[in-house]
Symmetry: C2
Subunit: 574 residues, 2 copies
């Protein structure tokens, strides 16, 4: 805890009771947690004018057992029998707990509702396909019978992408379809079943010499914050970005070929890294969020695993403008890109230095002395990877640029302090929510020439709300732009009050030149902004593809990607 003075909050450390709502909405490992440290705790108390007493008894902890009465919407008993015949009894469940669990992602809203025992859309039946052939038969059967199909990967969706708005079946990909099918060292690719979890995939690649008699060790290059609880298939269909995407590319960039089962038939794309044979169908499938079909296998680029070459560096800048200028200049410098690459605005820097345990240390005093005071200074953390001299040169060039923009070199220390917690921050949410404090994130893509208008515009909207913490960073860099990732901590009267606030932020993304999301996907949550964002003509193209792949709209119907809203709001679709 660091700071042992004063009473300690009563953070929950026990694993959620089996069968409880909490066991569904809690992030990650049931036994793991990451409590706010003493500095963050103090900051929260100050920000929301709360006393220690407030943190004694959790409110709505969601520990009660899941129970609800919801008859199947779209699957008849005869159909259940038919489905059981396809995959075997042991791979089908109609238990309430399963129907809810696999219908639930990780939006704050879902978590708040489940704390109160409020159940929204659930699937009628949970099905665990054993292999491609099961998926083929299931999709063909469901298409014939008009049964909605939703695909569940790791369950980390933050956009209601798993919501079975019209009931039907949920396919759980990770139960059986979770293997590395092939490591092709000559082509430097790996073929995996879509349901493999991130850490299993990475471990297989790291251990390639032992597991596949490979000459080298490999890495997947994709490390989203949800890495530990997401599937490779999920990365691809939602267009995810990892924390090292600036160097390795976004999930979509890693895909060489795919096998997708759709109602209109199977597609298997080819494994050429580039070819001029018309528009790439492979690309069209990436980001389709379960609306076109079920991704069953995917072949991805892999990379040599060279952790010993990794270089760490970090800088503090006198202002956000200078940090952005340095970030852009590095991205356009033509010496390769850093891997981890993140700049934090003034408020995030202030809180980040607390979280990473730098606030109050000699490094903090050094920064203050050198003219980088709190609430002005902005932090950049970065690593460089790849071949040894390449990585060294990325760091060297980046340092030269940072100095030109008045950056003060902080060594690799802040990056190293950030690194161990990089997949753990989602655990903070349960602690905060236990005491009625909301924490959520929204992210948006932006070009360099609109970054300041977007940052200022969105921040102003968020800060209009009284006592609201708003931390912003850019963490995925391209020569042409970056993303802005907003983390906000607030209190809300009720769930509707919160979702209205969320809508205001998304409106601001639209108004100030951002996209509805940079790497969270659209799902259903962001669908109301799709028409205005892409425009009618582009939406019509997506809908034409939808009609081609899924003429009966059985694949993730009910607002996903904004394809079948037909003038309604996604919440109205049932």
């Amino acid at each position: 805890m660091g700071d042992q003075k004063g009473p300690q909050p009563n953070w929950i450390e026990a694993a959620p009771p089996k069968g409880s709502f909490r066991s569904i909405f809690k992030w990650g490992d049931p036994h793991a947690y990451k409590h706010p440290n003493a500095r963050l705790y103090r900051l929260l108390k100050e920000a929301f004018s709360l006393a220690d007493d407030h943190f004694k008894v959790p409110i709505d902890d969601g520990c009660r057992p899941v129970a609800f009465d919801r008859p199947a919407k779209a699957v008849s008993p005869e159909q259940v029998t038919a489905i059981r015949q396809i995959v075997g009894d042991e791979n089908v469940s109609a238990k309430s707990y399963d129907r809810l669990k696999y219908a639930t992602g990780k939006t704050l809203e879902e978590s708040l509702r489940l704390r109160q025992g409020e159940v929204q859309a659930v699937s009628d039946l949970v099905v665990h396909p054993r292999h491609k052939e099961d998926v083929r038969q299931l999709v063909a059967y469901c298409d014939r019978e008009r049964i909605p199909v939703v695909v569940y990967g790791g369950g980390s969706s933050v956009n209601f992408g798993l919501r079975p708005a019209k009931g039907g079946i949920t396919l759980v990909m990770g139960t059986h379809m979770n293997r590395v099918v092939q490591l092709n060292e000559t082509n430097q690719t790996a073929t995996v079943q879509a349901g493999i979890m991130g850490p299993d995939y990475e471990a297989a690649l790291n251990e390639a010499p032992r597991r596949f008699q490979a000459r080298h060790r490999y890495t997947c290059g994709h490390f989203p914050q949800s890495f530990e609880y997401s599937t490779v298939g999920g990365w691809v269909v939602t267009l995810g970005s990892g924390q090292m995407s600036s160097y390795y590319g976004d999930a979509g960039d890693l895909v060489i070929s795919q096998e997708v089962v759709t109602p209109s038939g199977d597609l298997k794309t080819l494994d050429f890294p580039a070819t001029a044979n018309g528009p790439s169908v492979n690309r069209m499938l990436i980001g389709s969020e379960g609306c076109f079909g079920v991704l069953v296998e995917v072949t991805l680029k892999i990379f040599r695993y060279l952790p010993k070459n990794r270089r760490y560096f970090s800088f503090i800048f006198p202002s956000w403008e200078k940090a952005v200028d340095a970030g852009r200049e590095i991205s356009q410098g033509q010496f390769g890109m850093p891997a981890v690459f993140r700049i934090s605005d003034e408020e995030e820097t202030h809180i980040g230095l607390k979280l990473y345990g730098i606030d109050g240390t000699p490094l903090d005093r050094f920064m203050r002395l050198r003219g980088y005071p709190p609430y002005k200074r902005c932090l950049m953390i970065a690593t460089a990877e790849g071949e040894k001299r390449f990585a060294r040169n990325v760091k060297r060039c980046a340092k030269a640029i940072c100095r030109r923009f008045n950056g003060l070199y902080l060594s690799g220390y802040p990056t190293r302090k950030w690194e161990p917690g990089r997949f753990k921050d989602p655990y903070l949410r349960e602690d905060l929510n236990d005491y009625g404090i909301l924490i959520d994130t929204l992210d948006t893509a932006v070009t360099w020439d609109r970054i300041h208008q977007l940052h200022q515009g969105v921040r102003a909207v968020i800060k209009l709300r009284p006592a609201t913490i708003c931390m912003t960073h850019a963490s995925h860099f391209y020569p042409q732009g970056t993303n802005l990732y907003f983390i906000f901590i607030a209190r809300a009267r009720d769930i509707d009050d919160y979702t209205a606030f969320q809508d205001e932020i998304l409106d601001a993304f639209q108004r100030f030149g951002g996209s509805p999301t940079h790497h969270h996907g659209i799902g259903k949550l962001f669908s109301p902004w799709m028409d205005a964002h892409l425009g009618e003509a582009q939406m019509a193209v997506l809908r034409a593809l939808k009609r081609h792949f899924d003429p009966n709209n059985i694949m993730n119907p009910g607002g996903q990607l904004g394809l079948d809203l037909e003038g309604r709001h996604w919440r109205e679709i049932r």
Copy 2:
């Protein structure tokens, strides 16, 4: 000429007569030529058992004036009047010469036919749109009236992509729509009208400080062999690759956003470098070869122009296998990629060393002495670009790898000898054709694990033909594979004999695991292989998009991309 002994061939140096067939099929600048040097000339005489006398009087030089009688197929006089009203009289031509010129690309077949005065499909009317609005009105009008529309960029198509199989109008994009619309230095992008020619675009970027008050000079990074006679729009719609694509990316990788006018309406995609808002419609338009609509404007990535940082290097390997191994290892080395990057097989190396004037020099003797004899040795030429130390490190790492694979360092000399002629080789064709010798190229994409079977299989098919020279190189590198580019020099009984030979090579691409082309596009010529290559399911997706964008099939109908063949061969479609 180099070697002045013996009689000189009577190569044509005069510009083709105005209005002649030759003025249409001749490559590039009417006054420019690149004759085979003495060594190549000797090799041709030997290979085809020809005496000097054979090279005295050109056969079928195509210098006669264009004349043919072909009534308009798809445009009535009333429709001509309507079209004149849209763009103005001065921007419409129904002259035979124009109808043929803008219907003709640069396939060997077209050139052979025109030498004999044989005219195949021509457009009914040539139209030079002035701006987007003209294109909009033209496309809307032609859609209403069911008039086919073909788009002409620089005319360098090598796949009958410009063939107006069903008549109609040809839009010439370069006449008016040839400007840089905007240089956005903050985002490091340029927006251009689709009809701008390569050199004009590159000059504008190189001179950005003067032309756009920019801080830096820029380069487009895309230098196909057709660079001097192709348009930026053409690069994008045909999925071209430049000679430095290994570093800068293929044309499709450079596209940030586009504006396309289609029969079903205009599309303007957004300028985010990456965003997770569903499948990328921007990507779907790339490579559509005029089948979906007319690309009118495109925004591309640009790069800092840093010629002083360029490094040259070249290696000779004891075998093709070693050259391939080194090429693959460099591509997978994670230190960045060379820009120019080419490995030549035994036969191309043999001829290349003659062409670059290295054969018979001290460097040649050095190679022989060190154990790299002709017909075994394989040449690699390369450059590195980008930031200074980055480029130096690419060269350094590549050298270390080449040495591991028994490569002998040849300094940058061979690359420098290759460089000045890099856009000039197409001029050789006219000289050879003038004396009945055919030279043509076909290229294919390949993964690393199939490169040898493909190279050997295709080469065997080509070498089955008596007295046929076959040179092969790989020149576009990816971690997962490369391309194989076959140049063959042969004699043929007649055009049908030649096209049958071409078909055999394309069959071999298919049989041995290549794609129909790596960067020549599909056009109509390669359309017979599309169904087998992509498979029915992928073709159905492309056709669904075609129906969406162009429900009446007015955009480049008659086999383009294999979309509307309906069981026929493209040559049958009229």
